[in-house]
Subunit: 201 residues, 4 copies
DNA sequence: GGATAATCGAGACGGTACGTCGCGTCTTCAT
DNA sequence: ATGAAGACGCGACGTACCGTCTCGATTATCC
């Protein structure tokens, strides 16, 4: 979303047209909706945005980046009702529901595709992962941390791994595309996580 | 008599050459190793396999399918030491280690890419998922089931979700490509899963 | 057997199926009519004739030859009313009319195409030329010869060239495909040829 | 003002590269010389011209058209010594010699092949015929016309047919590829044409 | 009459070229 | 200097036929 648009100097010549940037993203988004990531070709984007191909390349380095940028733009901040007086596990449930709602859509699958397809080292891929996954991980980590501090959760849980277990389950089902991805599933996840698998003596 | 017994093999014409099929897969595999899925072009495959392009298309409908088939062929059954006298959680650890070992490689990432990129409805995609993920899920489910029967694990855990939580965490890190994916991680996962997150009163 | 004098072709094995040969030619002919020489592909011919491709190659060495053979088969001997009591020039007219009638058709153009496209040295090309052009030339030469002998025509005309002038004009118009190719044209040709171009003193 | 003025040249975008066009034609020409029309494949042309295949298709619609264009480019105007004080028949001889010289070469046969093979209705085929045959016909017609006006030739000859008789004979021998195609032949043609076939009383 | 052998329909094979599509770059003219 | 337009070199796509080969199943003639 917030790209690094450096504007330190008064530029000479015609300034870049931010309207073109928007038109490109809108075009890419509509193509995404209509035909998935494969339909977002540079030529289709440029044509639909009434923009020259070099203009697209002026903003993003390649096809991949445009798709990612289009998907990034679709991200709503997810609100996070943030009633922090609730229990940590309720907050987790709330967060996972948001995630599930966000990803149980065609767009969600596209995001997963891009996550899997992107060169893991690239700048935009980093931003993409950060936006869609790491941010969620950070939220989850914060929730767990608070739970530990409030004594609701065990002190010696591995927070990183715990978050991955919850988010990972959602992404796995998203990738597989067959098992249900809904509120019930969230309940099961949190239920399992809360009590653990081991029998009590 | 019933003359419609089942005659899938009309068996006319020159039989398909399994040698060509193998050569194609070998070529695709070597290209995969050298340059990733993007390097597996039909022309490169055909040329390296000393095979005509139409022959490749006779066996698989498109580029994607060839890559999947090549990856499918690389799957070793992983042995699964199957000392079933051990505890369910030890078995889980063992299984996850196998999975981690299998996927914490370039090939592993390629598999994840294909999982994410494939049309979820296609035949080969189904086989692909079945081979690489569903099979693991079934193994995990079986382990948990045995644990429950032996009284090691709680009776009311949601087995499906539990397996997804373990495998999902691994796949998530694989997709993200940054957090470590190793034996320590497996320990953390199983540790979290065993005791649960909730504090004991 | 009593009539076994010498059987140089002691045929063993299954004899060639003349029915297949006919079916192939019929198929090639119908394809020719429907789509021109370009439509006569080996696969289409074999399929339409219910014949294996190797069977086609057993009779003709390549695609070209099949087309030629199909066209050869369409040649009717043209009857040549052969009322030889008429004047040489009338006979010429008659012959040219036959030629025009024969070639002023799609098939006629196909024949011209093959004449132009064929490797001039090949066996079948020779037969093809012989059949469609040289035979006409021989007829024309015979007519002129008779005319000379009967005193109707000048003695010192170059017979070969004269025939080529008449037939060539027809083929030229056939190739060009625009100037009319009909009885009037034949009249003009013979008229020009009869009197010559030079003015009489 | 009338805004529908006629704007065939919108003149936007990068202009077509005439250098590429030339390189393509040069490549096609060299391939023609080396291997005949069959060797002029789009891929060979593009590769030899250091040009992308789509660029070739931007200029010509298919393989056929490229071959024709290459042949068209080879046509030298033939000078036509234009000593118009000579007799019409001498001029005819001169012209036919030029034609013979032009076509009694491998390139000449290629031209004939293309003439015979081309779709007679297509734009390029029209140009091709115009260039190689109709232009010659027009020249011949002009010569005959002058001859008539000067009283050298009969007034009532059919000029069109007469020209076709001369040119047609040349093309016929070219197609047949066996009878000689040389100055002697030209002499015979003009000789026959001059005096006519009919005996003088 | 049983072996032998050439031919049959069928169709896969290694190839070559087709004509198309998309990539990312370059070049022009107009703002 | 940007912007749109669009041609460019490149390379892969998936298809169509080429002419050859390999099957199992027929049909003859020869032993």
């Amino acid at each position: 979303m917030s790209d690094v648009v450096k504007k330190p100097r008064a530029k000479r010549g015609r300034p870049r047209d931010l309207g073109a940037r928007d038109a490109i993203l809108r075009a890419a988004r509509s193509l995404l909706d209509e035909g998935g990531p494969g339909a977002v070709t540079m030529e289709a984007v440029a044509s639909r945005a009434n923009v020259g191909k070099p203009t697209v390349y002026r903003w993003w380095p390649d096809r991949h980046a445009v798709v990612m940028a289009a998907l990034l733009g679709e991200a709503q901040p997810a609100a996070m009702a943030s009633a922090e007086q609730r229990s940590a596990l309720d907050e987790l449930k709330e967060q996972l529901l948001q995630v599930v709602k966000r990803f149980a859509t065609p767009t969600g699958r596209h995001i997963a595709s891009m996550l899997a397809a992107a060169d893991p080292g690239s700048e935009l891929a980093r931003a993409f992962r950060g936006h869609f996954v790491l941010a969620r991980r950070d939220e989850g980590r914060a929730i767990l941390q608070r739970g530990i501090e409030r004594g609701e959760l065990r002190e010696d849980i591995d927070v990183e791994a715990a978050v991955d277990q919850l988010l990972g389950a959602v992404f796995l089902r998203l990738l597989l595309g067959l098992a249900p991805l809904d509120a019930t599933f969230v309940e099961q996840l949190v239920g399992n996580a809360r009590l653990g698998l081991a029998a009590r003596r």
